[in-house]
């Protein structure tokens, strides 16, 4: 009995010695469920590919779809004694207590992809997308075409979501300001950004005899739904077609449609924040200061919009989700 006890003790000591030896930077990463979307899948992969043992990290990953699970995970990381916590929050509110606890424990917090409503001093930096900028980039591209008439079929995402507001507002503002910009139809794919709903909206618009020359869909799936309706009605689209197709998110399959000339534009929403955070952590570890943050401690991801006329296979490989 005593022998076993001694043996176990020795084993525990040895194990803890080993863990102490493998002193990568201890990081706890809290993300949403990868099954959520192509975006999330790419995001999770990007993080797991970057925060590896080879890259000098001892990272623990938690993917949870709800706020309470995420908070639980964050508390766990703090008691575990990690050095850094990376969070993409399911909900923007309710994080103050945990973030304060982290600060007291000396854990540095990075936000990625999604912002949290709290005092900017509670996190070290936030690497996020500016959805409004995505909308502005898309509208600027549309304007650069110099069409005489802009008759737009506008398919919105989940109403009230940051992505929907950011991508809708620049377009609606432009249409209010310019006489030759008109939104002929406006619909929403609903909370799940449903392509099927987008198809039905487009069918109804076509059947009602509405003439539109631009489809502005706020994600790739819904753009695809509209394209199905156009195909069924024999309306041509894409580079040589009558209707301009615009989507967002840059899924690989969507970029391939751009390359094939079936669509015209796809706006990026970058899920690749890992490299930026990796660099910031390395800077901090080396005793440096993080630079380039705005007043809200944010770094806005640099995002592109792809044009069917200039896109290359290389772009698809690099930026496709």
């Amino acid at each position: 009995m005593k022998k076993i006890l001694v043996l176990t003790l020795a084993l525990i000591l040895a194990l803890s010695a080993v863990t102490a030896l493998a002193d990568g930077i201890k990081v706890g990463i809290i993300n949403l469920d990868p099954s959520e979307s192509g975006y999330r899948q790419a995001n999770v992969k990007n993080l797991t590919d970057t925060f590896t043992a080879d890259n000098g990290y001892d990272a623990t990953f938690v993917t949870a779809p709800t706020a309470d699970k995420q908070l639980e995970a964050a508390n766990g990381f703090i008691t575990e004694g990690v050095q850094y916590i990376l969070v993409s929050a399911a909900e923007a509110t309710g994080w103050d207590e945990v973030l304060e606890a982290a600060q007291e424990a000396g854990v540095k917090v990075f936000l990625f992809d999604r912002m949290i409503d709290c005092d900017p001093s509670l996190y070290t930096a936030a690497v996020v997308s500016d959805m409004r900028q995505e909308g502005e980039t898309a509208v600027a591209w549309l304007e650069s075409l110099g069409l005489e008439e802009y008759n737009i079929l506008h398919i919105q995402g989940q109403l009230g979501s940051a992505a929907q507001i950011g991508r809708s507002d620049p377009l609606t503002e432009k249409c209010e300001a310019e006489a030759n910009w008109t939104i002929v139809r406006e619909g929403t794919g609903g909370d799940s950004w449903d392509p099927n709903e987008a198809r039905k909206i487009a069918e109804a618009a076509i059947n009602a005899g509405e003439k539109f020359n631009i489809v502005y869909a706020e994600n790739d799936g819904m753009a695809d739904g509209v394209v199905q309706a156009l195909d069924a009605a024999g309306i041509t689209h894409g580079v040589d077609g009558d209707v301009i197709i615009m989507g967002f998110d840059c899924n690989k399959w969507a970029l391939e449609k751009l390359l094939a000339g079936e669509w015209n534009y796809d706006g990026q929403c970058s899920p690749f924040q890992a490299a930026v955070i990796d660099e910031m952590i390395k800077t901090l570890e080396a005793g440096g200061e993080i630079e380039g943050l705005n007043e809200k401690n944010q770094i806005i991801s640099d995002e592109k919009g792809f044009d069917a006329k200039t896109i290359t296979q290389e772009d698809i490989d690099n930026y496709g989700l």
Partner: protein, 358 residues
């Protein structure tokens, strides 16, 4: 005489949905006389196809119509609803795509094989629900809540890719139109499933057994019907319906998105069953009612889109119309109306008698 009575009893259940459909049609005709016009167009694959709102409505309602048939059976046998049809539909789609991609090439043979595999998987998942309901006597809503909440995650595990693509003329033939046939294929799928169920009901006693289990399980057992088997059967048939609907859903877009495939369809299916005048507490049922319900829901949606109702308000308008239909079909209103009808008839005949006496 008996036949007329039977006809009237049947029409009684379908009366409210038929009136609702009639009002919707009338409303659209007044609003836009061209609403129901059907045209012929050449689609982008170079095939002649029918276009217009009626085609659009019947085509778009296909998945819902198929699933609501299965939902009616489960409702009738178990006195409850399966809320996991959308989630299991995502699993079905995932299995379909996985098997199809596993075979290496898309041909008629591999597509049929994949549909069969998808059908089998869906039946198994539905039998899981069925076992919880029929054997363990768990309330259907609770039993199916399990797959409702985890079904889409399972669909993701099966495929591991958020949106696999299927690019093939066979797939678009299934989801849109077959070259040479101007009618959208999903419409044929509804006919096929409807016909299949009609044949099963015509040549077996399943329909009668299902109703008797739903009305009084104990009495059915005393008469030699095994309620467990009947309930399991209803779930298996629902499984077939779900797999057909999900294959249509995948083929329509030529890609699988397990987040949006048949999303929220469970609610619409239950609604279709209710609008069709079926008792959600089980017992007697009419498949035609549920199918009618499905087309009413789709016509309502298409009407709202055609009217260019702002996206913020679409759901609210839909809810208002549906509340009116459901209340009009409720037993209380029905009873009131029937007694009013009878009173006026009796009043009328009295008047005749009095006239005769006078």
């Amino acid at each position: 005489m008996l036949q007329r009575k039977k006809l009237r009893a049947g029409l009684g259940q379908l009366l409210i949905p038929l009136i609702a459909l009639g009002i919707l049609i009338l409303f659209n005709l007044i609003r836009d006389p061209g609403f129901f016009s059907i045209g012929v167009a050449v689609n982008n694959s170079g095939n002649r196809v029918l276009t217009g709102n009626p085609i659009s409505i019947i085509d778009s309602a296909s998945e819902l119509a198929i699933i609501s048939m299965g939902m009616t059976l489960v409702t009738a046998a178990c006195g409850g609803q399966d809320i996991s049809v959308g989630a299991v539909g995502a699993i079905a789609g995932s299995v379909f795509v996985k098997v199809l991609q596993g075979t290496g090439s898309i041909s008629v043979g591999t597509v049929i094989l994949s549909i069969l595999a998808c059908c089998l998987a869906t039946i198994l998942f539905k039998l899981f629900n069925g076992t919880l309901v029929a054997v363990f006597k768990i309330q259907p809503m609770i039993a199916t809540l399990i797959l409702y909440s985890c079904g889409r995650s399972i669909a993701y595990w099966i495929n591991g890719d958020a949106t696999p693509q299927l690019n093939s003329p066979i797939i678009s033939s299934l989801g849109m139109t077959i070259p040479g046939i101007p009618v959208p294929t999903p419409i044929f799928a509804v006919l096929l499933v409807g016909l299949l169920l009609a044949v099963v009901f015509r040549f077996t006693n399943i329909s009668l057994y299902t109703q008797s289990v739903g009305i009084n399980q104990g009495a059915a057992r005393l008469n030699g019907i095994n309620p467990t088997i009947i309930k399991l059967l209803s779930f298996a048939l629902l499984g077939v319906c779900v797999s057909v609907a999900s294959v249509i859903g995948v083929c329509r877009l030529g890609q699988l998105n397990h987040k949006t495939l048949l999303v929220d369809i469970e609610m619409d299916a239950i609604l279709a069953v209710a609008i069709g005048g079926n008792n959600l507490g089980g017992g007697k049922f009419k498949l035609s009612g549920s199918i009618l319900g499905a087309y009413i829901i789709q016509m309502l949606t298409t009407t709202l889109y055609a009217m260019n109702v702002s996206p913020v308000n679409v759901k609210a308008y839909k809810a208002i119309v549906i509340i009116i239909i459901v209340i009009a079909g409720s037993p209380v209103v029905k009873e009131k109306l029937t007694s009013l009808w009878k009173k006026s008839r009796i009043g009328g005949s009295n008047a005749v008698i009095r006239k005769g006496v006078g």
